[in-house]
Symmetry: C2
DNA sequence: TCCATTTCTTGATCTAGATCAATGCCCGGC
DNA sequence: GCCGGGCATTGATCTAGATCAAGAAATGGA
């Protein structure tokens, strides 16, 4: 299935949400808080999947849209559960564990440096606004962090 | 296996770490940052498991210790992967998804209220210092949040 | 190509929560 | 039962990052 940049695949509140597999392109999942601010939960590029892992009977909390023109597959959650490798899922938990610890203990600078190291291929494909949102800081704060980094060569 | 309150089951940096199943009692996992501050990643009471889900060949990043005298089982990670129900693991991801979103968008008050609602049985069994650490705020900040809450009846 | 929109940057100010410090309290070990 | 160390509370101060604002630089659509 082909989707265009900007196309929304899932909105918060929807039921019976799916798992999206990315063949080419880039998707993201995010929430919008009560003040209207977006918080990016995840990026997914080639070879990755993205979903809101709520129960299929519950309204989801994440939006999912395309950051680039993409080719995707739509998979039913129950179907996916049958196929998925346990190691993949466990690794997903480990990545989230790292993320939680980051958010609890690391400064804006440390988070950005970790992001650069961990997702070098994503960095060039998304705006700083998106990176800031993923890191849990404002674009202004990220801009200043980058300025500091460039000053220090 | 019986462990006493305060006993450390795993230290950051150890290899070939295990999964701990709690039969009775209460365990926690946490990191210690470069300033020496503890950040609690998880609590596990009766019926739950707790672990650092890093690769068995990698040094782990979490400490695990007992907050109460407990009875536990020690399970090998590979063994556990064979037995574990995929729904359990997927739900774990969903809980972490909520936690990440919380940490990115919610105030200390909102986090505390969510914790009260989600883990009412843990609340009475741990100190406020522990709860504060889990929420990613200082004990002082949590104390003030609670004061506000009690004022509002 | 031009215009409009969005992004990035920079500056000024504000604020939630951190840090530091002092006190009283509880609780567990001896 | 007493003593000492961690815990909770409160107050004063500090600070990383948010917010607000305004200009410059990309970006994209017609």
């Amino acid at each position: 299935m082909r989707v265009m940049k900007g196309q929304v695949l899932q909105r918060a509140g929807e039921l019976n949400t799916k798992v999206f597999g990315v063949e080419t392109g880039l998707l993201r999942s995010y929430t919008i808080d009560e003040k209207g601010k977006e918080h990016i939960f995840a990026f997914a590029n080639e070879g990755w999947t993205i979903a809101d892992l709520c129960e299929v009977t519950d309204p989801c909390e994440l939006f999912i849209d395309a950051l680039e023109d993409s080719t995707i597959t739509v998979i039913d959650k129950e179907e996916r559960k049958k196929q998925v490798d346990i190691n993949t899922v466990v690794n997903r938990i480990f990545v989230l564990q790292k993320r939680v610890i980051m958010l609890m203990s690391a400064s804006a600078l440390e988070r950005y440096q970790h992001f650069l190291k961990t997702y070098p291929n994503i960095v060039q494909r998304v705006s700083q606004k998106m990176i800031a949102s993923y890191l849990g800081v404002t674009p202004e704060a990220l801009s200043r962090v980058r300025k500091e980094l460039s000053k220090a060569e």
